[in-house]
Each structure stands twice: as C-alpha cells, then as structure tokens.
C-alpha cells in the first residue's frame, strides 16, 4: 500500500512531462503499475508445484465444498425459504422503514453484478471454451454455501452505533468472533483483511471497472487516452462519495437493475431464437467440461477458467458481501445468510450462464469441422469469428441478433462499472475506518485515494490491471476463509436453532 500510492501519485503528477515522451502518460502509468504490483500478483497466482493450477483457486473451491458439506447442502435445502424471506413473508411489519432483506440483497448484487458477468465470462469461455461454463456453474452453486457462512457472521458480529448506523463485515466478525471463541490472532487477521480489502476496492472494485468502461467507450467514440475517461469518472465518483450528492448514486441504483433485466431479456430472446441449438450448446458445455475440446490445458484449463471467473464474479468467500449484507434489519442473523445464498445463484448460475450460452449459441468460437475441436490462436485462446475477446466478444455475440446491442452494452458497462465502484468505495472505506478510525479527515483521505485510482485504472492496460484486481480480491479470500473455517460452528449453531424453530412453527410468517 505504502509503496503503491507514492508510485502512482508520482506517475500522475509527472503527467504533463511524460505525455511529451513516447507512449505518453498511459504508458508511463502502465509501466509503473505493472512493476509495483508484479510480485504480489505472482504470489497469489502461484501454481501448485508441478501443475499450472493456481493454489488460490483450489483454496476457494475446497472452502466452498467444505461449507456445502458442513451445512448439509444448505444452498439447496434453504433455497425456497430464502425466496420467502426476500419477498418479505417473514418480515415483521413493525420493522417497515428499516433495511429489508430485498434491499440488502439488491445492494450486494449491485456490487457483484457487473463486468464479471459480461467481460469475465467472455474471458473464461474464450480461453477455457464452453466447458468453462460448466465449472463456472459448479463453482457458483458451491459458492452459495460460502456466501451463506460469511453473511450470517457479518450480521451476527456487526457493530451498531448509538446514532443508528451499522458497520459489519469480516474485520468485525474476525475480531469479535475470535475473541468470543477464545481464538488467538483475531486482531492481526482483521487488520490483514482490511488491508487486502482496501487493495481489492482499489483494484477489482475500481481500476478494473474504470479500465473496462474506458475500453467500451473508446470502442464507440474511437481511440482516445484512457486518463480522459479516468478523470471524468473520477469527477463523478468524487461528487457522489465526497460531495455527498446521493441523487447520482440513487439514479444508478435504479437504472442498474433495469439494465440487468434488459441484458437477461436480450439473452433469453437470443436463446429462444436459437432454441434448436440449445441441446448442442449444452452438449458442448458438458463435453468441454470433461474433455476440454482442444482448449489450452484441456479439462484443467476449462476448470481453472470457470472457477476463476466465477469466484471473481460472485465474490463468494471473499468477504465483500458480508459488508453489504450486514445493514439488514433482522433479529435472526441466519436469515441474511439464507438470503445471501441467492446472490451467487443470480450472479453466476443465471446471469453468467446466459452470457456464456449466448457466446456459444451464436457460433462465435471457431472450431475445426473435421475434429470438432476448437481452433486456437497464437496466444492460446480460442479463435473467434471477429477476433474479439473480453467485452468485445460478448458484444459480438449479442449483436448477431440485435445490431443495436453494442450501444446498449456500452451504457450497461458504464453503469455497472459505476455502481460497482460506488459499492466498493464503501467496502474499502469500512476497512479503512477499521484501520485508521472513523472521522471526517480519515474518510476523506481514502475517498481521494479512491478517486486517484479511477484515473490510474482507466489509463493502465488491461493485463496488469486484471491481474492485480484478481490478486487483491483473492487475497481477501485467503484471510476471510481462514476465519470462516474457525467460526463456522457459530453459524451451524444459529442454523440448527433457526431451522428447528421454523419447523416447530415458533417462527411464523407475517404474510400469508
């Protein structure tokens, strides 16, 4: 952290001079950024000895599997009850005006639904083939149990202040939960988590978003320097988080769900238009999942891509959602755990799968008719019809049916990017105030740093930004999952008690 900020600031303020040199400001920012973040990224994505399987991916999948087994496949058993909770069937009418389960879920979703679902899925399918979709869905279903665990703890151990505000998240459940159970090292882990969360907020929650928003805008308006997008975005983010102009955020919060529904609507229409190919597409997904169908790394290549993008998209096990969900009004922390398990389902199992299906069904991936295997390009990715990858691949796939879709996608990407930034600015801020204390000056410092990183993200090239973004977010998961393992008996106790009372009729529906 200490190293990054002066480096980045120096790169920024040296801008006018550097702009005159070859490559300009963007290249200078990019180079400085890649050299600073390289070692951190290498550590997080280090492969297991003798394989090309990153240990961090295994870490997340093993955790999700352990939680799934430990809680007895709670994501399937409590799915119906989770929907009843979101509908408000169990909400006490006396709590009207407080944060509802629906609102907590919608807020958390607005932080996760975004570029991961559009760009991330295209990256996964572009490298890992259709088989990556299968592993992405599997990771999404398992991830529901991780989300359930962390969000229950988030509500249980939140801080409620006399002025009526609440603060929750892994840093609080790590410190308070460890103390309660007599476990050592809680304060160190909480501090570590907070540091990684700040980096994650600046990386995946900020730079990656600014970077992809710029990629989309320059695709429409022609190539122009990234720092221009960065400055405009930073100014708007500044107005909202520093200026306190909530109306912009409010508009975004209302438009984003609409865009998500419109995006899924378009995907459903394309899938229905190609209904005859749906069997073939699922065949490709399942064949690819177990054979790789010629992709780089075969089965393992498809698996890694699927798991990696699912984890990045739904953030299960990362701990970010626990911060967002902790504001809900409920007497039973476990109820928010149930509600939160819908998040990876909506994000990954529904939205990501739709993107993947549209890419596969629209025939964007080039395969060899003789062997049925995918044709790879020099970089090891699957050859696509237009040569596009990332967001551009999703855009090309959707525009086979709707020629106007790329324009809608630009608006969607910019809005998703903005809403994700606003959400992550809050997650980062909560970690920052945990470390440095609440207070206007301390908060302002973080908010200003956040705005500076918007500019850096838009100006840097995708490679280093995407690597750092993934690495920072996964580093949060390293700490968070250790805590979840140690605190999962607390969640089990809450779950057993609640489900028992639900069965006995002690917990009643308010709505019928």
């Amino acid at each position: 952290m200490r190293k990054i900020i002066p480096g980045a600031l120096a790169a920024l303020f040296a801008g006018p001079a550097l702009a005159q040199e070859e490559g300009g400001l963007d290249a200078a920012v990019n180079e400085a950024f890649a050299s600073i973040t390289g070692p951190f990224v290498d550590f997080i994505f280090a492969p297991l000895p003798g394989t090309n399987f990153a240990w961090i991916v295994l870490w997340l999948v093993v955790a999700a599997s352990v939680f799934t087994l430990y809680f007895g496949f709670i994501q399937f058993r409590a799915f119906g009850h989770a929907i009843s909770l979101v509908k408000g069937d169990y909400s006490d009418p006396k709590d009207a005006g407080e944060v509802s389960h629906f609102q907590a879920l919608a807020t958390a979703l607005s932080g996760t639904v975004g570029l991961g679902n559009i760009a991330g899925v295209a990256v996964a399918v572009g490298i890992g083939g259709p088989g990556a979709t299968f592993w992405m869905i599997a990771a999404g279903l398992l991830g529901m149990a991780s989300k359930f665990t962390e969000c229950t703890l988030g509500v249980k151990y939140r801080n409620e202040y006399p002025d009526g505000t609440v603060s929750g998240g892994p840093m609080y459940y790590i410190s308070k939960g460890f103390r309660e159970r007599g476990l050592p090292g809680g304060s160190i882990l909480a501090v570590l988590f907070s540091i990684f969360c700040i980096l994650g907020a600046l990386g995946g929650g900020n730079m990656f978003q600014a970077n992809q928003a710029h990629a989309q805008l320059s695709g429409v308006f022609g190539d122009y320097p990234g720092w221009i997008t960065g400055v405009v975005f930073a100014a708007i983010v500044f107005i909202v988080i520093v200026g306190g102009i909530k109306s912009i955020a409010n508009v975004t919060e209302k438009v984003v769900p609409f865009m998500a529904v419109l995006y899924c609507g378009c995907a459903i229409v394309i899938i229905l238009m190609n209904i005859d190919k749906i069997g073939w597409a699922f065949g490709q997904i399942i064949d690819g999942a177990f054979t790789g169908l010629g992709v780089a790394g075969g089965l393992v290549g498809a698996l890694i891509q699927g798991f990696r993008r699912a984890a990045f998209s739904n953030e299960a096990g990362v701990g970010s959602a626990a911060i967002a969900h902790s504001a809900v009004r409920t007497k039973e922390p476990i109820t928010e755990g149930f509600v939160s398990l819908l998040e990876p389902f909506i994000d990954t199992v529904v939205i990501c799968t739709m993107t993947a299906l549209v890419i596969v069904i629209s025939g964007q991936l080039v395969s060899d008719p003789a062997t049925g295997l995918y044709v790879l390009n020099e970089s090891g990715s699957i050859q696509t019809v237009t040569g596009a990858s990332g967001v551009a691949l999703t855009s090309a796939a959707f525009s086979t049916a709707f020629t106007w879709f790329p324009y809608l996608l630009v608006i969607a990407v910019v809005l998703f990017a903005f809403s994700t930034m606003i959400s992550w600015s809050y997650y980062g801020l909560k970690s920052w105030t945990y470390l440095f204390g609440e207070g206007k000056t301390s908060e302002l410092v973080f908010k200003l740093i956040f705005c500076v990183f918007v500019v850096i993200g838009a100006a840097a090239s995708l490679g280093p930004v995407i690597d750092f973004s993934d690495a920072a977010i996964f580093a949060m998961a390293v700490v968070n999952i250790i805590a979840l393992y140690l605190l999962m008996p607390v969640v089990k106790r809450e779950m057993t008690s609640y489900l028992g009372r639900l069965r006995s009729g002690e917990i009643k529906r308010f709505k019928h």
Binding site: G88, S91, P93, A96, G97, E98, V99, S100, H101, F102, Q103, A104, A106, T107, A108, S110, G111, E160, D163, G164, T165, V166, S167, K246, A249, N250, E253, K254, V256, P257, I323, A324, A327, V328, R329, I422, S423, Y426, Y427
Partner: protein, 145 residues
C-alpha cells in the same frame, strides 16, 4: 371502549380537511378517540447504496421523530385543545395499506381521509392512493372533498 376513528393526514392542506372532519364526527359521537395517522412512504423493494443502508436505522428514527414533532403532535394538540381524545401514530409503508392496517390493529370504526392534490399523469399511471384505500379498506372510508 371508545369509538375509534382513523384520520389520515399528510402534513398539507388535504390532511387538515380530513382532521377537521374527524374532529366534527368525534364531537357528534361523544365517547370517541381520533387516531391521527401519518404514513411515511416506504417500500421494502427499492434500491439503495450500501452507505444508505448502513445509515437507514438512524434515518428511520429521525424521520419518525420529525413527523411526530412537525406534523402529528401539533394536530393531536389541536384536537386535545378542542376537548377531544386523540393519539398520534407514525408508520412507514404504503399509505393505503398502512391506514387500513392501523384501522384493523386498533379496531377503528372508520377511516377519514381527504381527496389529495394528486392529479394529472402521476395518478393516471400509478393510481390514486385514496382510490386504493377505498377499494381495499376493511372498514368504511370517508373521503372529504
């Protein structure tokens, strides 16, 4: 047990008309308590930022305190000044649903509201709150012109 009347007020001129009529009815009835009700529009299905959610509990308390101090308590005092029994109620939610719920919870005989200033496009698109109350209420509703 006194007869109870629910008077829906909105902090504006329409609410005053409803309150005046409720007062008139209460006098005619004699043993009567007027519940002066103000509903803060709220839906559990709206979208908010994480920061707004974190501050929500405090804001809700502040909204209730402000509604009580500025709108409901002065109205209760006016009725009490006229020798009538009155009590204030502030709730969050949908106006029509909440007025009906208060009437049911308190065993009220009647709900009194005034035709509001809702007009034009908004009421055409979303429907009038008064009309919704009239259509759904479990007790008789008087709509003051």
């Amino acid at each position: 047990m006194p007869t109870r009347l629910v008077a829906g007020i909105d902090g504006a001129e329409a609410g005053e008309r409803a309150l005046a009529h409720a007062g008139k009815l209460a006098k005619l009835i004699g043993d009567c308590e007027v519940l002066v009700c103000y509903v803060i529009e709220w839906s559990p299905y709206t979208f908010h930022t994480a920061e707004e959610n974190a501050e929500r509990h405090g804001r809700r308390e502040a909204e209730i305190a402000a509604a009580k101090a500025r709108i409901v308590e002065p109205a209760v005092k006016r009725l009490a000044g006229a020798g009538l029994a009155a009590r204030g109620v502030v709730r969050h939610g949908d106006v029509a649903e909440q007025l009906d719920a208060i009437a049911k919870d308190e065993g009220a005989e009647q709900i009194i509201v005034a035709r509001s200033s809702e007009s034009g496009l908004a009421s055409r698109v979303f429907g009038s709150r008064t009309a919704k109350l009239v259509m759904s209420a479990a007790v008789p509703v008087t709509v003051v012109a």
